[in-house]
Symmetry: C2
Subunit: 191 residues, 2 copies
DNA sequence: TCGCAACTACCTACTACTAGGTAGGTAATT
DNA sequence: AATTACCTACCTAGTAGTAGGTAGTTGCGA
């Protein structure tokens, strides 16, 4: 792993724990073991770092959604896996999804970062809409309304549940907040 | 209105827009028109300010919940009013509920502030549980599961919907994210 | 294969500014 | 007289960023 990737990893951890305004180049320098000024070689401005952080996070998340779409047999299984992505992203309640962490401090972000943040949300919503449409056909999801509304509600629920768990550093709050959602999903089929 | 209250108002606006790490005593001094050092007379440390902010916010919110409980005839009406509190708190998508704004930067908060933040969430959840129990009796809310689960899911949905709307500064995202939730509520009775 | 120019990835040193906070002072108020 | 609510002046620490330097690496022509 090279220094540039190590810096991105360190920055992601810091941002997901404390938000964009809650970490500094000094934090990353200390974590990685290089001088603060050296970071500017890789990322001339902090906004450049933020842009690359969210670009790679969105790409990785899109890949994960594609894997779920390919691997899971029905809408319920896809939604359960989607839920799992958000639950795993929490760690033990010690960090948030990068986009949740960035959203609260959005006034500190540059236009390209905000564009990518909103694109992330739009793409998540679009993916979820397709899944809920599939659920309307395969019957594996209960209490469906409009697919786009269900999609946005699900995204909001995941982000909100993360915030509750993060506030108390208690993963079980995420589980409780999303228990009713999981109840809507048909159990996985035995094979 | 005295200076102390003006400072709390200014700090609340700033914190709800940019989070705890995103504003400073200098911002408040500039807004109110006193010197930065003068703020320390009212709030010796920034953490003291945060504590008073969240205390008064929680008190005000609890009062609002009591008013809703007293004024609304059934669970659906109470939930619609609750939804309205979160929607109104957004402004035009320019700010968040204080507890949402504080949650993302929770590592910067002191223990008393965190305790109050988590108490806020617990009290909201308890109030919502009672409302969902009422809904199970009066039949005004559809698709009920466990009252405590429904309560936490609702709180998460409101906080998450706020984040989505805040990220894009677009109130309609809040409305879309909560549309399915509102569909579960019986229409208000005509009198 | 070698020498060398260009480049990379760091370094030290520094700038300008911001942040939270303290100390001592003063005019107005109680 | 004591207290309050501000003030100026200043402190330490932190922040993002720049400039110039250097050792190591790379690529290429001879």
């Amino acid at each position: 792993m090279n220094t540039r990737t190590a810096l991105l990893d360190s920055a992601e951890r810091a941002a997901r724990q404390r938000g964009y305004d809650g970490f500094s180049y000094a934090d990353l320098a200390s974590d990685i073991g290089i001088r603060k000024a050296s970071i500017h070689h890789h990322f001339p401005k902090k906004a450049d770092l933020a842009r690359e952080l969210i670009d790679r996070y969105a790409t990785r998340f899109a890949d994960q959604l594609s894997e779920i779409a390919a691997a899971e047999p029905n809408a319920a299984a896809k939604l359960r896996a989607y839920h799992g992505l958000y639950r795993d992203a929490l760690g033990a309640g010690t960090q948030l999804c990068l986009c949740v962490a960035f959203s609260a401090g959005r006034d500190s972000l540059t236009e390209p970062v905000l564009d990518q943040l909103n694109t992330f949300h739009a793409r998540s919503t679009a993916w979820l809409s397709l899944v809920f449409e599939e659920g309307a056909v395969d019957g594996s999801v209960a209490n469906l309304t409009d697919a786009a509304d269900d999609a946005r509600a699900t995204l909001a629920l995941m982000e909100g549940a993360q915030l509750l768990a993060r506030a108390a550093v208690d993963l079980s709050l995420f589980d409780q907040a999303t228990a009713a959602f999981l109840c809507r999903l048909s159990p996985s089929q035995m094979h």
